[in-house]
């Protein structure tokens, strides 16, 4: 890619409705269930802050809501706070798009980083597939696959 940023795309099909998926992405109580106990807090208005807080009260990530168009598109400016070596990578951008397709919803997460050699990329790319597998399973069966982060 030649536009100087590095982008990662994660896509999954979930047998649910856009409204239910939107609620799953923006309701703290629901998020906690598939995001390994993390609390994602925001009022989801454009320009409002959001933060991710671990079960023991640590703010690991934060940023602002860049776009909010329910139930189609949610975009966040994203800064990592917890590990200094990852925080040094600066701001990332994360867009979540919901698209209805025959009895299911295609959820596409695009995470963009200003640096190609970003360490945050490695941390995030290991996380999203597990989070999405959990989210899919929770919406389709009511149960999650993984209760904790493998190896963590």
């Amino acid at each position: 890619m030649t536009d100087g940023i590095s982008r990662f795309v994660y896509a999954t099909y979930i047998r649910t409705t856009p409204a239910k998926l939107w609620a799953a992405l923006t309701t703290a109580e629901f998020i906690k269930q598939y995001w390994f106990g993390m609390n994602l807090e925001s009022d989801w208005k454009v320009g409002s802050p959001w933060k991710m807080v671990s079960a023991d009260g640590l703010v690991t990530d934060e940023g602002e809501v860049a776009e909010c168009d329910p139930p189609r598109r949610l975009a966040l400016r994203w800064r990592h706070k917890w590990k200094p070596e990852l925080a040094a990578d600066g701001e990332a951008f994360c867009a979540m798009e919901l698209e209805p397709v025959e009895g299911a919803v295609k959820l596409t997460i695009t995470h963009s980083f200003a640096r190609r050699d970003s360490k945050l990329i490695e941390a995030v790319s290991g996380g999203w597939p597990r989070i999405l597998s959990n989210l899919k399973s929770l919406l389709e069966t009511g149960e999650i696959v993984l209760k904790s982060k493998p190896g963590g």
């Binding site: 990662f8 795309v9 994660y10 999954t12």
Partner: protein, 108 residues
């Protein structure tokens, strides 16, 4: 998304090679992916379409170009269904051992 489609898409060395290339450098155009492959553009397009239909590749438009991204989610679903149930750390140790012993050999 059918898991049959994922396994069928993975059951081809050219398609696995395309995924390896996207893993090494994500977000490539068709022309970039064709470089160094002894295949016609049409053949690569066809393989990419199969990978995309299986949701192993996601594409996004940038201007007139189409960029291809590896989508690890279906592979992760497979891993969680069959591997997560077993002892993942020990399997990782075995995989590391195999890699070390076989270093330098191809991985198809």
């Amino acid at each position: 998304m059918s898991m049959d489609a994922v396994f069928r898409a993975l059951a081809d060395p050219v398609r696995r090679r395309l995924l390896d290339r996207l893993h090494a450098l994500n977000g490539q155009t068709l022309s970039e992916l064709c470089e160094g492959l002894d295949m016609t553009r049409q053949a690569v397009t066809k393989h990419l379409a199969i990978l995309e239909a299986a949701n192993l590749v996601a594409s996004q438009k940038r201007g007139r170009e189409k960029l291809h991204f590896i989508n690890p989610v279906p592979i992760n679903d497979i891993a969680e269904r069959w591997i997560g149930k077993f002892d993942a750390p020990r399997l990782a140790a075995l995989a590391a051992l195999k890699r070390k012993l076989e270093e330098g050999k191809g991985h198809d």
